[in-house]
Amino acid sequence: MLKLINLSKTFGEFTAVDNLNLQINRGDLFGFLGPNGAGKTTTIKMITGLYNISKGSILVDDIDISGNPIISKNKIGYIPDQPFLYDKLTGKEFLYFSGGLYQIAKKELKDKIDHLIDLLKIGDWLDKRTEDYSQGMRQRITIASAFLHDPELIIIDEPMVGLDPQSAVIVKQVLKQKAREGCTIFMSTHSLNVVEEICNRVGIINYGKLIYDVSIDELKQMQKEHNHNIEELFIALTQS
């Protein structure tokens, strides 16, 4: 579903992502780990079209995103690390706005918004302007907006930031359900327990290079072998 081929991103002399090769299969819930500044957000921004690619290519469902950005963007739902919304719109207006960008018919859009209101428990404050929202509220609106067009690939950058425990549980359940439905999820996070809990594959990036790409079972095996919990193992892997 998602292929990163010799992907690199440079900013002047600095190489943020260095010759990254990765393939994520349909239905995978892929956890993308790495210390701060490792290149996680840069990779995600290249996949979603927010950054230009310096070298290499990205294929979404075998479609090159540089050659066919519109077709590939139709397949992607993106949840950024900072849930910036249009302050003057209400949450509901933002969802309608997002649906309109994906050309969803009005009736269908209304049904989907109603469904997501129930799913993410966002009904209470949906008619308030987003400038009055907390970080968690904004995050849930962003998540809802990413699900509206039933994307085949969901790209998430730090989904748990600012979420209260209740919301975090809801989001984890929704992500697992989406993966079960055949949706591919590429999730960058610092929450190792979230990765352990919901992902089936894990990639670790450090200094722009992919240093590990293993299944969650293999990761658990490594934990056992080194007698580490997941935090200790992560630190050991990224320091070695």
């Binding site: 900013f11 993106y78 719109l89």
Partner: protein, 545 residues
């Protein structure tokens, strides 16, 4: 968003561009002023008194522009900014925050104007062969206090507005204030009718260089624009005693207003800042339901166009600084149209003077279009803010997005430009009205696209305040480019206009062939600027976000 890593070549280019544009503009303003004074005094013999009275009227408009601009900017920076929220959580006295914001607003919104005035008055000083010390007296003891008075008065009025808003509602206060300003402006232009003034002064021709005390209405003598123009008159005529009287008045007025502003800031700012939330909440409750289903309504537009259009509409009408500033500009345009119809009657049988009045009115029209474009088109891309990620990651064609964003502004500004052409020139022949409408139609797209392109190139997605975006360094450069363009425009059109007026006054013939040709050249130049600017937008949007 700009990356931290891509600073070197682009920054260097920007800085060099800034210096070149500022340099060119300063030189242009300097020579333009010098030549204009020469033209008015030597060719047209209007006399020093009349010229300084015209300066007084222009300064009055400057004063009002800075004053109203400061009210709007201060509202955003003193009551809406997140920085103020942050500062209030720190152990800093509210009066200190107020003073910092007051100075910040003043310098931010007046920098461009100060730069323009430095060059203009340099041209003025050189023309009259004034000493360097006289130039500095004009600059630092006259112009700066004049602008400070305008800024301080704006802040004082804003504090009073916010204080009264809790009791009477923000909207009612603004309506009341709008009516008050309207009556004041109408009174000013009725009292200082340029036509009457010209007629009265020319009764004394050729003795028109002296000071006509009786021709200055008493009410005008209490206004800072008059003190400034009067002191200029006396400096030029070597009567420093008289000049100092006006300068002292100017400085004293500025000091008094700054003290009142600081005093009210100390007494009211924090309490008014706290109650401003209540005011906004009351306003929001009243708004609820108005636009509840705007996105849910069926539309004949395609979904992507509809959704971008509706988002723009809501973000515009819900941003008070946009609505207030738009209303103020519309009001100023109406005022301009209503007052300009009498100005066009000046020098009916003097083709030189008629031509200069016509081109001045024409320049003002283009200047209004430029102001509207700078204020509302330049910030378009920046105003997307960091929420722009949603559009950038969605499957919408960039051209479709750009045209949807730009089209309402193109239509609006185009219509305004045509109305300006018709209503400000209807006293001339129909041929001249058509020519004015044609040239405006040719220029408007170029100016709009230039502002759009430069706004995208200098986009600042972190800045939420549209007025600050429209007063940023990039915006100042854009405005100066437009002004340079206007100087070139006048240089090319003045001669054909002069020939037209000469033929008309002498032989009553309307030969517009040359003017039509000029319109075609302007349209071609405007098209080239538009295409170039559009390419800048496309390139700018391809930058890393």
């Amino acid at each position: 968003m700009h990356s931290d890593f891509d600073f070197t070549p682009r920054l260097l280019l920007r800085k060099t561009g800034n210096i070149v544009v500022y340099g060119l503009f300063s030189a242009g303003a300097f020579f333009f002023t010098k030549n204009l004074i020469d033209y008015l005094l030597v060719t047209q013999h209007i006399g020093q008194f009349l010229m300084h009275e015209f300066i007084s009227i222009i300064l009055f408009m400057f004063f009002m522009a800075v004053h109203v601009g400061n009210i709007v900017v201060s509202y955003s920076t003193m009551f809406k900014s997140e920085e103020v929220h942050f500062l209030f959580t720190k152990p800093i006295k509210p009066s200190v925050i107020f003073s910092i914001k007051f100075l910040d607003n003043f310098f931010y919104s007046s920098t461009t104007l100060i730069l323009i005035l430095i060059s203009v008055f340099a041209g003025y000083a050189v023309y009259f062969d004034l000493s360097v010390s006289s130039y500095f007296i004009i600059l630092f003891l006259n112009i700066i206090p004049f602008l400070i008075s305008a800024g301080a008065l704006g802040v004082i009025i804003l504090l009073i507005i916010m204080k009264l808003a809790v009791k009477f509602g923000l909207r009612n206060i603004f309506i009341g204030l709008g009516m008050l300003y309207l009556s004041f402006l109408i009174s000013f232009f009725q009292i200082t009718s340029p036509v009457d003034l010209v007629n009265e002064v020319f009764k004394y021709y050729p003795d028109i260089n002296r000071y006509f005390t009786d021709l200055i209405p008493p009410f005008i003598k209490y206004l800072p624009n008059h003190w400034l123009s009067d002191s200029l008159f006396w400096i030029v005529n070597g009567n420093l005693n008289q000049a100092w009287q006006q300068i002292i008045l100017q400085i004293s007025f500025a000091i008094i207003l700054v003290f009142i502003a600081l005093f009210l800031g100390k007494r009211w700012y924090y309490s008014v800042w706290l109650t401003s939330f209540k005011t906004v909440q009351i306003k929001r409750k009243k708004e609820k339901g108005i636009s509840k289903n705007i996105f849910g309504n069926e539309s004949f537009l395609k979904p992507q166009i509809e959704t971008v259009f509706k988002k723009d509409w809501l973000t515009f009408v819900r941003e008070p600084s946009q609505v207030i500033h738009f209303s103020v500009l519309m009001f100023l345009i109406l005022l301009f149209i209503s007052s300009v119809s009498s100005v066009v009657l000046i020098g009916k049988y003097n083709y030189y003077l008629q031509c200069i009045v016509y081109t001045t009115v024409f320049l003002f029209n283009v200047l209004l279009i430029s102001t509207l474009s700078l204020r509302f088109v330049y910030p378009i891309i920046s105003m997307e803010g960091i929420a722009f990620w949603k559009i950038k990651t969605s499957p919408i064609q960039i051209h479709k997005y750009l045209w949807t964003r730009l089209m309402p502004y193109i239509l609006l500004i185009f219509i305004i430009s045509q109305l300006l052409s018709i209503f400000s020139n209807y006293q001339y022949s129909i041929q001249l009205v058509i020519i004015s409408a044609l040239i405006n139609a040719a220029i408007a797209p170029g100016i709009i696209f230039l502002n759009f392109g430069m706004g995208a190139y200098f986009a600042d997605y972190r800045e939420k305040n549209p007025i600050r975006i429209a007063s940023s360094q990039g915006a100042s450069i854009t405005f100066m480019i437009v002004l340079l363009f206007l100087v070139i425009l006048i240089a090319f059109t003045f001669k054909p206009f002069l020939v037209y007026f000469e033929n008309y006054v002498k032989y009553m013939t309307h030969n517009i062939q040359a003017l039509l040709e000029i319109s075609v050249y302007i349209a071609i130049a405007s098209l080239a600027v538009s295409l170039f600017s559009y390419r800048i937008v496309l390139k700018s949007l391809k930058r890393d976000f």
